[in-house]
Amino acid sequence: MTALVRIAGLVRRFDVSKPWLNRLIERAPRQILTAVADVSLEIPERGVYALVGESGSGKSTIGKIAVGLLAPSEGAVEIGGVDLHRERDPARRTETRAHIQMIFQDPYASLNPRWRVRDIIEEPVRARGDRSEGLAERLLEQVGLSARDADKFPHEFSGGQRQRICVARALASEPRFIVCDEPTSALDVSVQAQVLNLMKDLQERLGLTYLFISHDLSVVRYMADRIGVLYLGRLVEEAPRDALFETPRHPYTRMLLEAAPRIDAFGREVDPPKGEIPDPINPPTGCAYHPRCPFADERCKRERPAMRDAGASRAACHAVEEGRL
């Protein structure tokens, strides 16, 4: 299988410094928030790659860079061999852009409330100047809505239905690659199931490639083939689905799996994880997870671990490498 999406050495920094005058007077240094640090991954054609992590882990930033909404500070994202940020040929850019779509978290904010559903769905096609008759109706039926809904406004739909419309819009330009940024986290369980099933069906039927971003391990487990775990902008572990859930390598992955509530663990008394996510502007030295890690030693404080193969997985952890874990 060839990789459709290739992310290599991706870094994204945000300057969150105070204005220069404050820095001048208060002698405060520049403050740089590194949202994404040296992330590399590949998504094969027709694959579903999931990124999981808590808030501030940089997963959404990677998604936005992948679709071209944000520029990378370093590194590159290639989709079908084209890097949107470096490609000079406008025709290839336009073509590549048409192959990329995104589904957002909030089904209420992602549809323009003043537009009719037809216009929303057909916009990607019309914007390119292509004809779009009947497209909205066809897509609406494909995502399980009625063709008559094309003339309604978004506020006439429930959250689940809106997310279906978002899916329909994403499909309008016949994309190959869709970034799904927490597509169901705003939905109720019963509706979430509908949308997840739909997305999975479409992925299989249309041969789509997904980058699936979520904080919910159970959703990721349902959707993904391969999962990357992010902590403070870095990939700490990457593994095929079953390997990750059955034999998690990195202590952070273990903690996540342990802390997540379980439906069968009635009255379980867990020892809650220690600490909270550190300030991403001043991340800890060495392994960023070391202050919370029960296995951390001096080396972890000093030296940042690199990604290494560990069984079917890859993990960035000295303890795993040293076999302490």
Partner: protein
């Protein structure tokens, strides 16, 4: 055997009159919470779980109001108390924790002042004593260096720490009952685990009962003793948490469990319940769930389903009742 439950709802009805008709976000809900018990109230958005909690503490925004039934706290009816008496119960006997720790605290007031004002509002102590207790309360919820941090403003805390402060505030006057309305929804997984653990520990130590409102079955499974499932303002099913989750009776609970990815083995399709929760102005007649129910019968469309007690104490469903031989079809 029957000790007076700390909280008892009987046929509680909340109505919101609108210009078109009267909405019923809570419709004839009855349940009890024993002293020290954790009752999980679960349901999807619009199920009426938050409104039930708000009704108990008497803070429904007008024009909404309790239109029927009664709320009893430790055997004493409280839904009809005058405003001032109800105020004294809030905070003192019933505490409340809201979903978003960011917006629950007044951003312009030091957390110490928010704590002491709460203590002074309910306990007859000096200001110095109130402050001492405030520090103790912060220490108890695990705020490091509480004596120093007490003069900080809310924005100087992280989300998890803020929710700890909120819990300290809710428990400041040692209430008998805490209503926790989605206390961890806005938090990360690791912090959620901390907060749930904290809440459980504190309430157990004080014998405080908890009404834990959430949409997360996992949280319920781990934290609650009993669980009440709500749908469209009505109680669908109630029972010990292990039984309800492992052997749901009501078709809605069953569907819900089957739709939860956590409960579905990898690679299997999620079960889906067709449609969505009805809006308050369009609740179907008969059993509110019948249009989405896979086992609905003609009768479900007509009459209100039997009450939980009439169906063997678990689910409010015609089919369940019939199968159990409690009613005839």
């Amino acid at each position: 055997m029957t000790e007076t439950p700390i909280l008892s709802l009987r046929n509680l009805v909340v109505e919101i009159p609108t210009r078109r008709d009267v909405l019923r976000p809570v419709d004839r809900v009855s349940f009890q919470i024993a002293r020290g018990e954790v009752l999980g109230v679960v349901g999807e958005s619009g199920a009426g779980k938050s409104m039930t909690g708000t009704a108990v503490i008497g803070l429904i925004d007008p024009p909404g109001h309790i239109a029927g039934g009664r709320v009893e706290l430790d055997g004493q009816r409280i839904d009809n108390l005058p405003a001032e008496k109800m105020r004294r119960i809030r905070g003192k006997r019933i505490g409340m924790v809201f979903q978003d720790p960011l917006t629950s605290l007044n951003p312009l007031i030091r957390i110490g002042d928010q704590l002491t004002e709460t203590i002074l509002a309910h306990l007859d102590v000096s200001e110095a004593e109130a402050r001492r207790r405030a520090v103790a309360a912060l220490e108890e919820v695990g705020i490091p260096a509480a004596a120093r941090r007490i003069d900080s403003y809310p924005h100087e805390f992280s989300g998890g720490m803020r929710q700890r402060v909120v819990i300290a505030l809710a428990l400041a006057a040692e209430p008998d009952l805490v209503i926790a309305d989605e206390p961890t929804t806005a938090l990360d997984v690791s912090v959620q685990a901390q907060i749930i653990a904290l809440l459980k520990r504190l309430c157990r130590e004080r014998g405080t009962a908890v009404m834990l409102i959430t949409h997360d079955m996992g949280v319920i499974a781990e934290a609650a003793d009993r669980v009440a499932v709500m749908y469209a303002g009505r109680l669908a099913e109630i029972g010990p948490v292990a039984e309800v989750i492992a052997h749901p009776q009501h078709p809605y609970t069953r569907g819900l469990m089957a739709a939860t990815p956590m409960a579905t083995p990898p690679g299997e399709r999620l079960n889906q319940i067709p449609g969505a929760m009805p809006r308050l102005d369009a609740i179907p007649a008969g059993c509110a769930f019948h249009p989405r129910c896979p086992v609905a019968e003609a009768g479900c469309r007509v009459g209100d389903p039997p009450r939980v007690e009439e169906c063997g104490g678990r689910a409010a469903c015609w089919v369940v009742a019939r199968e159990a031989g409690l009613v005839r079809a």
